[in-house]
């Protein structure tokens, strides 16, 4: 069950949920949140640093998925009125990228939290473009400290 009353699209709130800052902000919406799942959104803009020749490139897709995990963690902290913690991608495997999104397209990424232990979060992520799965990956993210 979605614990959000409504999707969060206010960029001032999004900035409170993630530690990243411009120009490396790769999520612009929190659409769904519960204890084991989060869904983020991103509209690819032409000035996005990962856009090349009109396409959102692979590193951007991976960073977008990692920041979706950051949204999950950050929202946990946000509701406790605590700043979003910093973290990093510890490992990634099983990545498949079927298609690169074009500028102005809207991505939706669902991340399922498989395990969280000792500051390490193991997730399975799926990014969709107009309902079509374009990226799947398993990722470990690590909280700093």
């Amino acid at each position: 069950m979605n614990l959000l009353k409504e999707p969060i699209t206010d960029q001032n709130i999004i900035l409170k949920l993630i530690p990243q800052r411009a120009p490396i902000i790769m999520v612009d919406a929190l659409l769904y949140f519960d204890d084991s799942k989060v869904i983020s959104g991103l509209t690819v803009t032409s000035d996005n640093m990962f856009v090349q020749n009109g396409f959102f490139t692979e590193p951007g897709l991976i960073e977008h998925m990692a920041q979706t995990v950051a949204l999950y963690t950050g929202y946990h902290f946000y509701i406790k009125n605590t700043p979003a913690p910093e973290g990093y991608i510890g490992a990634i495997k099983g990545v498949t990228i079927e298609k690169l999104p074009k500028v102005n397209m809207q991505l939706e990424t669902e991340v399922e939290i498989l395990h969280e232990i000792m500051g390490v979060t193991l997730v399975k992520g799926t990014t969709k473009l107009n309902g079509e799965v374009i990226v799947t990956a398993q990722m470990k993210t690590v909280l700093k400290n």
Binding site: G90, H115, I117, M118, G119, V120, K140
Partner: protein, 80 residues
């Protein structure tokens, strides 16, 4: 499940999935140092334990786990 089976299953997945050398698997081996398991490996350890024993470990379970023997005992206690 008796203790020998538990130890065998743990050793098997440490060798197969964590690339630990069989000769390093002594009960007194330190999990982090001798077996070179880092913090990222621990989440895989949790996944492997759940897959092999149906037991879900949490961070607190590892507080007093230093050696492989401690880990064998932890799983045995969880199953009992």
């Amino acid at each position: 499940m008796n203790k020998e089976v538990i130890i065998e299953k743990i050793n098997d997945f440490l060798i197969d999935e964590f690339e630990v050398e069989a000769e390093d698997l002594s009960p007194e081996a330190n999990l982090k140092e001798a077996l070179e398991l880092d913090s990222l490996d621990f989440v895989d350890l949790v996944v492997a334990v759940e897959a092999n024993f149906g037991v879900k470990l949490v961070g607190e379970d590892f507080i007093n786990i230093l050696t492989l023997q401690d880990f064998y005992d932890l799983i045995e206690n969880k199953l009992s």
